[in-house]
């Protein structure tokens, strides 16, 4: 946030607050992911079948699931899966997207034409649908979820970076670097791509929320993380069966997803406003 113009007025303050709230939520989730298993009251696999489906109590704050496992402990462990999937998917997608987008934007011509057509076709698919289709054929597993979400995720970054690079290519300092004889990789890496990074970082932050939501959607449909691994989406999927007699199975994992995604949305919005004060409304 060092490049941010000094905040002034209630609006700027609210922006900072948005960022702070987002950072707080995400920070807590990261903490839960790192130390969760250590502070969790129970093992995620330990069962108390006599108390299965029991609601929240002093001993089990979030209650117990259909196999008598402590839901709080499993929600804490689920944070690790969600953040891991988000981080890996966003890292792969943004790396591939930045490479493809900068090559398309910088070289233009036939290279751009060909890459842009591929991007158009992939964007013509609703993203999650393609992920569902891929996981359906590859088989449900955590790694296949990551592969499917990365394969659809890079397209958005590529389009964003392509646009940024097209603009940056004509900037004076880029022209100057070329005129001074800098090699193409050097011009791209040192001068062109850095101009796209603020926009990429905003998209990556919002993308974390998107990837977490997508993983949960796939797991909810039974196509993602497989039991007994505690994933919030899988927990919701099993909770659905007990909606009538044990709604707490649905409430807590869903709340965790909503709060974490809200956190990343806050963080992304705050980041965008901080990096581009003109867009602040």
């Amino acid at each position: 946030m060092t490049s941010e113009a000094p905040p002034h007025g209630a609006r700027a303050l609210r922006t900072v607050q948005t960022f702070n709230v987002g950072a707080g939520i995400v920070g807590l989730a990261v903490l839960a992911a790192v130390v969760g298993p250590a502070i969790a009251p129970f093992d995620t696999a330990s069962q108390d079948l006599a108390l299965r489906l029991t609601g929240p109590s002093l001993r089990h704050w979030f209650g117990l699931d259909e196999l008598g496992r402590d839901i709080l402990s499993r929600v804490l462990a689920g944070a690790r899966i969600s953040l891991l999937v988000g981080l890996v998917v966003v890292s792969i997608s943004s790396a591939v997207g930045v490479c493809v987008g900068s090559v398309a934007g910088y070289f233009g011509g036939r290279v751009d034409e060909a890459l842009s057509r591929i991007i158009d076709v992939l964007l013509a698919f609703p993203g999650l649908l393609l992920a569902i289709a891929m996981v359906a054929v590859l088989g449900p597993s955590l790694s296949n979820v990551v592969i499917a979400l990365s394969l659809i995720g890079w397209v958005g970054y590529a389009r964003l970076v392509r646009g940024q690079v097209l603009r940056a290519r004509e900037l004076e300092f880029v022209q100057a670097a070329r005129a001074l004889g800098a090699s193409t990789p050097r011009v791209l890496l040192r001068h062109v791509i850095p101009t796209a990074l603020p926009a990429v970082s905003v998209q990556a932050t919002l993308g974390m929320g998107g990837a977490i939501l997508a993983e949960a959607s796939l797991s909810f449909l039974g196509l993602g993380v497989q039991p007994p691994t505690p994933s919030w989406g899988t927990m919701l999927n099993y909770g659905r069966i007990h909606l009538l007699d044990a709604p707490h199975l649905t409430i807590f994992p869903g709340l965790a997803i909503a709060v974490l995604v809200l956190g990343f949305n806050f963080l992304g919005d705050g980041l965008r406003d901080a990096l581009d004060p003109a867009a602040r409304r």
Partner: protein, 297 residues
């Protein structure tokens, strides 16, 4: 006109799905324990024993003629099965979009007109919450409150208007949130324009200046977003239909994935993707109506 190459690309992707199956697709569809004779027969029936290019051309020409093969489970034509589910999904998608518009437009307009007030803050907070709440959580929550606790609405199935309410709200919620944010942002931009002041100067009431002048001009980005989000609505329908046992294409897709009925999976995916492309084309054409300055060659 990018539509034709895009459709071609979409069909190619859907065709390649079956070839992404690890190992022998026919074996995967029938299970590991299936007798070899059955596997060979299925492989032949699906044309998987023919050269790849021949399979591809057969798939494309079939798709153009509306022949996507038969379902492995029921033996019925895929196109017929998908078509029988279209009305349910169309009904749900339309209802979700209506719900979204009914919520988002007043909310977005109020937030822009009373910018910086408590109304704006609560509308913005509501919109952010709506974007973050997954529909596979919102749906069950709505069912817990309105079907289980209050008993006002049915928990699943299709039939009466009452059956439609919960699925439509659950599917339209996120769209409403996104639309409300967009409406607020674009309307704020328009309200700063001199023509709005001019309208006020000529004696137009505030409501008229906002609704007849400013709002009308902010419709283009709203319609664009609505078109772009249609894909999300169709994908969301896959989840919503699963939650509420709504007999649409989304549920058919999830069921056929469960049965490894890949021809039917391909049919559902192709239908959803082609619908999405078509809606985007219609969105582009609607621009011309909304803004006479935009004309297509």
């Amino acid at each position: 006109m990018l539509t034709v190459p895009v459709l071609f690309g979409v069909a190619t992707l859907v065709f390649s799905l079956i070839h992404l199956i690890p190992g022998d697709p026919a074996q995967a569809m029938l299970g590991e324990t299936a007798p070899q004779a059955d596997v060979d027969e299925l492989r032949h029936r699906l044309g998987l024993d023919r050269p790849l290019l021949e399979q591809y051309l057969a798939f494309l020409s079939g798709a153009v003629r509306g022949d996507l093969g038969t379902s492995l489970r029921t033996g019925e034509p895929v196109v017929g099965q998908v078509a029988s589910r279209v009305p349910a999904t169309a009904e749900l998608a339309a209802a979700a979009m209506i719900v979204a518009l009914l919520v988002a437009l007043p909310l977005g307009i109020a937030a822009a007109v009373w910018r910086g007030t408590a109304i704006d803050a609560s509308a913005t907070a509501l919109a952010l919450a709506g974007v973050s709440i997954p529909n596979f959580w919102l749906g069950p929550l709505l069912a817990i409150v309105f079907a289980v606790e209050l008993g006002w609405l049915p928990v699943s199935g299709r039939g009466t208007l009452a059956h439609l309410v919960l699925p439509a709200i659950s599917l339209g919620g996120a769209l409403a949130a996104i639309l409300a944010r967009m409406t607020r942002a674009t309307l704020l931009e328009e309200l700063r324009e001199p023509y709005v002041q001019a309208a006020r100067g000529r004696g137009a009431s505030r409501a008229r200046a906002v609704l007849r002048h400013a709002f009308r001009n902010s419709l283009i980005p709203i319609v664009t977003l609505l078109g772009l989000q249609f894909g999300a609505v169709l994908t969301g329908a896959v989840i919503t239909e699963t939650i509420f046992a709504w007999p649409g294409i989304g549920r058919l897709l999830v069921q056929s994935i469960g049965f490894r009925d890949y021809p039917l999976v391909q049919g559902c995916i192709l239908f959803i993707a082609v619908t999405y492309v078509a809606v985007n084309l219609v969105t582009d054409l609607v621009y011309g109506v909304l803004d006479p300055r935009i004309r297509f060659e």
